[in-house]
Amino acid sequence: MSAIWDPNRPELDTGLVLVATPITSRHWQAAAHLANFLRGKGASLVPACMPNLYMEDGETKAFRFWTRTRSSAIQRVWLVGIRAGSRDVQVRAPHTTGALAEYTLTGDRRTMLVYVEDLSTKAIVDGEISLEVTVPEGGSFYVETISCYEQDRPILNLDATDLGVESASVAARQPIYDAANRSLGGIIDALEGADARRCSLFQYASGGTIDGFGGLTNSSLVYADLLPLAVPILGVKQYRSDTTARAVWRAYCKQAAGTGYVRLTTTNSGVDDTLPVNWSTDAWSLPRVLYVDCDDMAATDGRQGADWDSLQVEYAGDGTNAITFKSVSVYTGADVLDLFSGGTFDRESEGTYYYSSAEVSSSFVDFAAADTRRLDSREDGLGTTIILEAEGNTNHVVQSEDLTTGDWVGINSAKFNPAIGVSPYASADTCDIEFPAGGSTPATAPQAQIELTTIPNASVDCTISFWARMDSGTGKIQARLLRRDGTTYSGALPYEFDVTDTWQRFSTSQWAGNAGASPLKLCLLNGSDYAARNVQVWGVQVEDGISSTPIQNPSSYIRTDGGTAARASETLRYAPGEYPESFLTRGFAITHIPNESSADMLERLNGTGWTGVIAGIGSSNHYLRFYNNAGSLYVQAYSTPLVRVQAGPLTFSANQPLGIEVRPNEGTLRILGATTGDGTYGDTSILPAADVVTWVGTGTAGIATSGQADPYGGTDAWLLTDDNNAATEALRTTTGVTPGGPLNVSLRFKKDLAATTFVGVRFAVEASEVALNLVTGDAQVIAGTAISNVQVTEEDGWWLLTYDHSGEAAGNVAIRVHPARGTTYPTASNAAMGSCTVYGGSIRLGLPWSWPSGGNFAIGCRASGTTLGSNGRFGRYVISL
């Protein structure tokens, strides 16, 4: 019995399905065949694109595309349009690892090569698919076009992956019932699992060598067009009132230094999305969201109007350094959490944000009311507007804007002029400080002073910040704190800033003094050239600092008017049902722009510990977080009780965009955009699960004998023997490997119903140990606390033992097997003697996991809504993987 696919998709007159009239078997049959059509029909993964790449003798090029495949596909058909004379061409997919096929071309003409890629698993893969083309010897050719589609499945399995509906179960006179893959139950399962996506809307790959060369480059700040004509783009209509469809896009690119950009725009739907590229090694960007026109089902050709919605792709360097642009993919299927709406946002005070850049506007700051999101739009090349989240803080300056109220005092002939110009906040004027010429030291310089009535945290530096600009031209201004020492004040040398006629926010940090060293005075001094000048000043802030680094970023501005004021901490969380459930298992991608550098993060918590939550997932104790691990900064995916995978060490500057992709099911974590530390972490075998390994007897003459029958018909298993009554073990060793994170261990032991002893397994340098009963397959931890999730499954007369090992194992990790750990399971005894047969053995970095369902998904705070968040900004969308 099977689910048969009808190449002619059924259509039926639903007008004949009437209330109070039985639904005919013909309708059920049509429904079943439609369900099978939707599951069995393959999707286009790469619409024909035009690399038009010239390749010469001996070259190999990889063409990379990103899409989200369908779960039922088992073959991909690649079509490669070659323009060549008589010569050979080699093709494989995926690049590097696919089965190589060689084609012999004749005549100078266009030839379409067909390459079929058989898949090893059926699954939705949100990832790269690729093709490699080689000119093996002699001649050259053009790779003009490439396309790829999933082959149709004429027969579906009756299982939970294919969701085929058994054709016979909907035949006439059959009962209507609820069962997997049959009748109505099967139809509904297939409908809910239907994946009739228009998988890829646009794909382009220029082709590049596998080790990084090739691609389009542009060092200019002026965008270069990828396309001579913007190419039509239309998505699928979901609901009747929809006029747009959501898609996501990624680019495969790098920037030699500095920041380059890739920008996508559309003609009708108004997309204008800029990706900053600040990584120097070829990599796929994080996904970004765009909304394009969708089909109009009532229109003859499906378009929404006379104009096509069309896509343009542009790329630019930074004026000096070139961007290298290799691929761009626009595809569908990812779920998205829009951080600009929904969920529960809390902040018990107002908060400040940028609605534009000082570079383009004389006023650019605004205030969001309590419990209102702050949508920051600094036009600083970080893409579209982003959401700002921060911990709470207090401004200790009682008068932050109007310097003429009397709270501020002019010293050494400095004075204040009111209503000089427009402040960064459009609704408020600014005043200036008029510094006359004169003075020669910080003490004698003209300056403005204000006494702080509350005391910033003692023992750490506090952060001074303010906006300043010249009435015209350029100038200088200095800032420092003075601490009272008895009847006199003293302080560090002031920090000097260069001021232009554009508003800039300046900041420095200074030691506030030990507890009791109060009151403090904040001084804004004339520049150290002591020339006469007028400097406009607005938004002065002194807040509790976090470290002793010389300069650090202030938090967002807190306005005051006659007294100190606080900005409350912010939390943004989504309840179950408000965020995609797939976040917990398949994972998600998020962009985070920390407000502080990695060095500041480390210093804020001077010792091992976590320094801020990027996302809280599920219930308490499940996080994506920054972590100070022995003086190095990591991003960790933590799900109690273990760190599942960690990425780092990382370094980055304040306000540097970090892309983070976490895939629980795969046990991986990827970082993109850090100064150092970019890459994918986890899911890395440091001791490959190879079929041929070497075991070495150790201790007191453990014996390891190779050549034993293995589970796959070979002779690659080992007999390990303990033939004395001491602690005898055998090792399988790696060298030079420092895991740097949690590990997953797996080993196969031959089932032995006659065994009188049990096996012990541990790492060579750690005490935690698992005991395995060779007769029953029972296993349990018999020592230590680092081992968890012990599982044993039986496969063809072998026990497959797997377990997780927390913490960071030492270098040169080795699996240590004690063939006869004891005679009475699970009591350890060195006196026991016996043997076991072992095969394979792997140690894998990163532990696949799933976060618990039923809890909140929180951004920049814990899932419970409490803080210790990571201060900074977040991209608008969290995107499922």
């Binding site: 998709r9 079509l79 396309s147 149709d152 001579p228 004509l229 190419v231 499906g302």
Partner: protein
């Protein structure tokens, strides 16, 4: 055009178990409607290409007025409707001439082995005749600036941007493609209307050539 009664998906909180009765409205407005709409919108994008460079017909200078192949999408299985009419193809072609003159383009939706014949139809005596099918679209380009071309199919529909194939023609194009039943590797065949979008071009002046800068082709449920 839509075959689903609501021209879009319908949400429902329906739960189905052995004890549930499925009424006509749930069957029609949810089950059948959503299946039909998903099948309508299964339509895939088969060509979406452009580049800073362009493709040219290799043999344009051999015989004037003959159409030579510039690009192909590669053969793909066009989805079929219940009446055995394939889904339509929504196309847009961006081209230009190598100089200020005029060149002609023909876009043919057909199996690869037949496309050149449809691009260059002949009468019984072997003389060229005009094509007259709605799966052959033609346009001209004048000047060397890349632009989207305005044209129409050569059949009775004279459609500006929809290539269509009738059931009888499609029946002759059906092939059985070998594929697998599952990962285990057992083989079977899939019945498919395996066609490709081919872009041909021609010039009356041997000194000039046609340039293909961009092309788009996407399936569409059409109005069969």
């Amino acid at each position: 055009m839509s075959t689903s009664p609501h021209e879009g998906l319908i949400r429902t909180g329906l739960t189905v178990d052995s004890g549930s009765a499925i009424g006509a409205s749930i069957a029609r407005d949810y089950l059948l409607n959503n299946l039909l709409h998903l099948a309508d919108e299964y339509a895939q994008v088969r060509m979406a290409m452009g580049n800073t460079t362009y493709l040219e017909a290799l043999e344009t200078n051999v015989f004037p007025d003959r159409y030579y192949l510039m690009a192909s999408s590669g053969a793909f299985p066009l989805p079929m409707r219940a009446n055995r009419v394939p889904y339509a193809l929504r196309i847009r072609i961006g081209g230009a001439c190598s100089d200020a003159g005029t060149v002609s383009f023909r876009v043919v939706l057909a199996p690869p082995g037949l496309a050149a014949g449809y691009a260059n139809p002949e009468d019984a005596a072997g003389d060229p005749i005009a094509p007259s099918w709605d799966f052959v679209w033609e346009a001209t380009a004048t000047g060397s600036t890349a632009s989207w071309l305005t044209g129409a199919t050569t059949g009775p529909n004279a459609s500006a941007n929809l290539l269509t194939v009738d059931a009888e023609t499609a029946a002759g194009w059906m092939v059985n493609t070998a594929t697998l039943t599952d990962l285990a590797g057992d083989t079977t065949t899939a019945q498919q209307c395996l066609v490709a979008v081919h872009v041909f071009a021609s010039t009356a002046d041997l000194a000039r050539s046609a340039r293909l800068h961009a092309a788009y082709a996407a399936e569409w449920i059409g109005d069969a």
